[in-house]
Amino acid sequence: MGKVLKYSFYDLIRSRWSYIYFFFYLALGFVLLFLNNDLSKAVITLMNIIIVLVPLIGTIFGTMYYYNSKEFTELLLAQPIKRSHIFLGQYFGVAGSLSLSLALGLGIPFAAYGLLKSNAIFDFALLLVVGIFLTLIFTALAFNIAIHNENKIKGFGYAVLLWLFMAVIYDGIFLLSLIIFEEYPLDTFSMIATALNPIDLSRTLILLKLDISALLGYTGAVFKKFFGTQIGFWASMLVLVLWNAIPIFLLKYKSSRKDF
């Protein structure tokens, strides 16, 4: 797997898009930090951008890479390499290069700002961890969509729909259901619904870490009770790990049964 990963990774970090992605975060980081001067606000703005943008880029890049490397995959399939290693290698190549762009693009301006010496390092670290998780999760989902759809257009369509659902529609349905069922106790429901969507979960984790759960109103208090504790934090991390592990497992399963 290492060798496939190496070639996919090299291939990607030579690509223009990785640089664009990297410079975008670099510019964003510098602008937010040096024009804002308020670290906590900068982290919140960054969070709002990361939580929407990272899944989008992950899904688009993931499907695009899968379809574009069809020739590479076919070449590899005839070589003495285990099938699952081919696909997992490519997956980690994409997810790794995207994560690197994110971590370096945001890390450099924050380091330049003197973050390493301040207390906000933990908030920032959580932001990065969440960003990397979201990259891994949505790239894995994208690979699953692509491997199940020979038709590129269809694959792209499903990938964008998935992103739209997770980032926008899910919240809409969630809010609607809160309004419709407002007469019932909804604490448990809203907590579970939040935990089931990696984007919502990431947002909640960061907001609670920043200690601005008051912004969330009444539910904020309930959330704080659960997600704010050590157990809640690790349970959320576990959910993120599961969101990552299940698509990877499905990718492995499908790749060992597909004809090329």
Binding site: K3, V4, Y7, D11, R14, S69, K70, E71, F72, E74, L75, L76, L77, A78, Q79, P80, I81, K82, R83, S256, R257, K258, D259, F260
Partner: protein
């Protein structure tokens, strides 16, 4: 060398292989023939493990290939359509395959043979079809594997390269290797093949030497013999 028994494969509703039994012996050159869509490439891809059969078993060098991948170290494969990652240079591609197989190979002599030196630093997406096919041939012949599978090796080659290819095939045979070749050019088949395997609608319709084929169809020319085989089936 290769043992295939009762191999079935369907793609959706399209039944491509309908029970193939085949025994490939060591040290011979086999030509797999058949009309378009008769299942030649599917058969080859099943041996390589790229297509997963619905039913039946395949053994390569005495080992069942199911779920295995190490046996591919013993196979060199020339795909039908030379599709390569376009953003790589010829040199980089060759080095990558060497690295992936953990084998140095002898690419240099082959590059010289096909006069590919001027293209070594060019990107694969900028090469012509014939040149790509030559690169394809270099990749297939550069390792010393026991089994060579060539899917339409003569596509797009100029006469010079074609002569070199035939020489290469003869040399590999002298080295005691087994070759599986598909082609639609009967003259080429006649020159290189020891035995012919004729596939029709997913079944083996004929297997034997070229002589036996001509005797069976009462023809004096391979092209007509093959055409006759197809016709008998068609009208029968």
């Amino acid at each position: 060398m290769i043992n295939i028994s009762d191999l079935h494969k369907k793609f959706g509703k399209n039944e491509v292989l309908k029970g193939i039994d085949l025994n490939i012996e060591h040290g011979k050159i086999y030509a797999i023939l058949g009309p378009n869509g008769s299942g030649k490439t599917t058969l080859i891809k099943s041996v390589l493990g790229m297509v997963i059969p619905d039913k039946g078993s395949i053994e390569v060098l005495g080992e069942p290939i199911k779920k295995g991948w190490k046996y591919r170290k013993q196979i060199d494969y020339l795909p039908q359509i030379a599709n390569f990652p376009g953003n790589l240079k010829v040199n980089e591609l060759i080095d990558m395959i060497k690295d992936l197989r953990n084998d140095k190979g002898n690419a240099d002599t082959l590059i010289e043979l096909f006069k590919l030196q001027p293209y070594c630093n060019k990107k694969l997406s900028n090469l012509s079809g014939g040149t790509k096919q030559k690169v394809n041939l270099v990749l297939a012949f550069m390792f010393n594997s026991q089994l060579l599978i060539l899917d339409e090796p003569n596509t797009g080659l100029d006469p010079n390269a074609l002569i070199q290819l035939k020489e290469l095939i003869k040399k590999e045979k002298e080295n005691g290797k087994t070759l599986l070749i598909t082609s639609h050019v009967m003259q080429f088949v006649e020159e290189v093949a020891d035995e012919v395997i004729y596939l029709l609608e997913g079944k083996i319709y004929f297997k034997g030497t070229l002589k036996a084929l001509m005797a069976k169809t009462q023809q004096t020319n391979v092209e007509h013999a093959i055409a006759a085989l197809t016709k008998t089936e068609g009208y029968g």
